[in-house]
Amino acid sequence: MRPFYYLTLLLLLFKLSISEEMEYRSNFFANILNTLSSVLFALLTLQVFFLQTDEIGGWTFEQVLVLLGVFNALDGVVEMVLRPNIGRIVQHIRKGTFDLILMKPVDSQFYLSFRHIVFWPITDVLLGFGLIGYAAVSMGIQVTVLNVALFLLMFGMGVLTLYAIWMILMTMSFWFVKVENLTFLFSSLFETARFPVQVYKGALRLLLTFVFPVAVLTTFPAAAFTGALTWRDALISLLVTAVLVTVARLFWKTALRYYTSASS
């Protein structure tokens, strides 16, 4: 791996995507409208829950607000980077242009993951962080360097985990051609990340911590910010992320071997 090479390339692809996206400027306003309405209704939903109670699974209203901010920011990442690319593998395989990508002296996973970046959903990320900031002020959290660093670390793990899950889904499109179903499945499962994992009981909680780790996606970053993160949880976050990223990479390599029929 050569970090500098891939960083330069990423910047270039980002610049490229912006000039491509400029063809579709009107999407910007549609996106802002979408973002605002979805956050508004998420807040109303929270209000309905907290009319009946002071805490959900041990989380106060402000703490869940932080979690909602994290969820929104991650959703923005999905819309910016992940969703624009996932459908393309199938198109490339169908049109035969996948061969042209494999012929390039660049990591094909990297290229296919980041070739298309949509800029507009940055509003979701910004609004997410805005929510976190608002919740911090109304809770009166004193923001320390350690606090922020831990949050950023956990948030980074969340982004990586999200990427790994998405990459695994994307790799499945070698065999299951209907990607719409895969993204639908993801979106449905992602809904479980709107609430702290403590809401779920028993086996379901284990499943949502280790298998489809919504705990790593939203619960742990939010807990890191509010100071409720235990060392055990932080460790789980790092481990789950490491395992998923590795699995995603190996799965991709396997799919490529299948494609070049080197595995048979």
Binding site: F41, V48, I56
Partner: protein
């Protein structure tokens, strides 16, 4: 009338064949659509772990959200997305050439899927019956008849509402943005988040003035026995009102839209 009957029989046969071809996807979608109500249920179970809230205990919440699952599957409609694609890709025109109205073809598809969902979920409900009494509801024939009528009216409202939104595609290319906004409002107002009595007072005040409660919350409340007596009859009356309103609106939008569509030669 006889011709229309034949149109439905034939169209449903075609749609059934398509459904069989994509049976995996169909089940996939059915299961996927269960996740959101189940997540919401999990939250309510966490909230009510310490005891009853707002007149609902844990068992009440479970029954409520099972009923939501059940009714939501039977009033689902996806025509806006289908019709948007058809308008964008220009395939709508070929359907317009057929002698029977396009909507019959679409309704036939909707019915085929709902028949499948209905049978599957009814079977699941019956299998669960001996194992847990959470799913027990009154088996009084009069009550069951009211439940069936409420669900039927709800699905007519939901379907015609969706179809009227789809008709907006004749005038704007951003029809789906409006649909998405409606979905978000509907999620909140129809009772998917919580029983209607849990919503803020200002929301409850709008109950009669928007169609959302009548296309989901009302039949669910009838099933769980939260609405009973004369309130049932006035509720059914309001359902009929909304159904008739959207059917009338459909006729206006469809004829105006077609004129507009053929004028631009779409």
């Amino acid at each position: 009338m006889k011709t229309l009957w034949r149109v439905y029989a034939r169209s449903m046969k075609v749609h059934w064949a398509i459904l069989l071809e994509y049976r995996g996807d169909t089940l996939f979608y059915m299961i996927g659509s269960f996740i959101y109500p189940l997540v919401t249920l999990a939250v309510w179970l966490a909230i009510s772990a310490g005891g009853e809230v707002g007149g609902y205990g844990q068992r009440d919440f479970i029954l409520y959200f099972l009923a939501v699952l059940f009714v939501a599957r039977l009033n689902g409609a996806w025509d806006t997305w289908e019709i948007e694609t058809m308008m964008r890709e220009g395939t709508l025109s070929s359907y317009l050439l057929r002698p029977s109205a396009f909507i019959h073809w679409r309704i036939a598809e909707n019915l085929v899927y709902k028949l499948l969902y209905g049978v599957l979920m009814l079977a699941a409900w019956m299998i669960a019956w001996p194992f847990t009494d959470v799913v027990h509801i009154s088996l009084d024939p009069g009550f069951l008849a009211v439940v069936i009528v409420a669900i039927l009216l709800a699905s007519v409202i939901a379907y015609m509402f969706q179809y009227c939104l789809a008709m907006l595609g004749f005038w704007t290319t951003r029809m789906l943005a409006i649909v998405n906004l409606m979905e978000a409002v509907g999620l909140f107002l129809s009772g998917r988040i919580a029983p209607y009595s849990f919503l803020p007072d200002w929301v409850q005040a709008t109950q009669s003035f928007t169609p959302f409660y009548w296309l989901l919350g009302f039949p669910v409340d009838v099933i769980t026995g939260r609405v009973s007596g004369p309130a049932v009859w006035s509720g059914l009356g309001l359902q009929v009102f909304w159904a008739v309103l959207f059917i009338a609106l459909y006729f206006v939008l469809w004829h105006r839209g077609l004129r507009k569509y053929s004028a631009v030669g779409g």
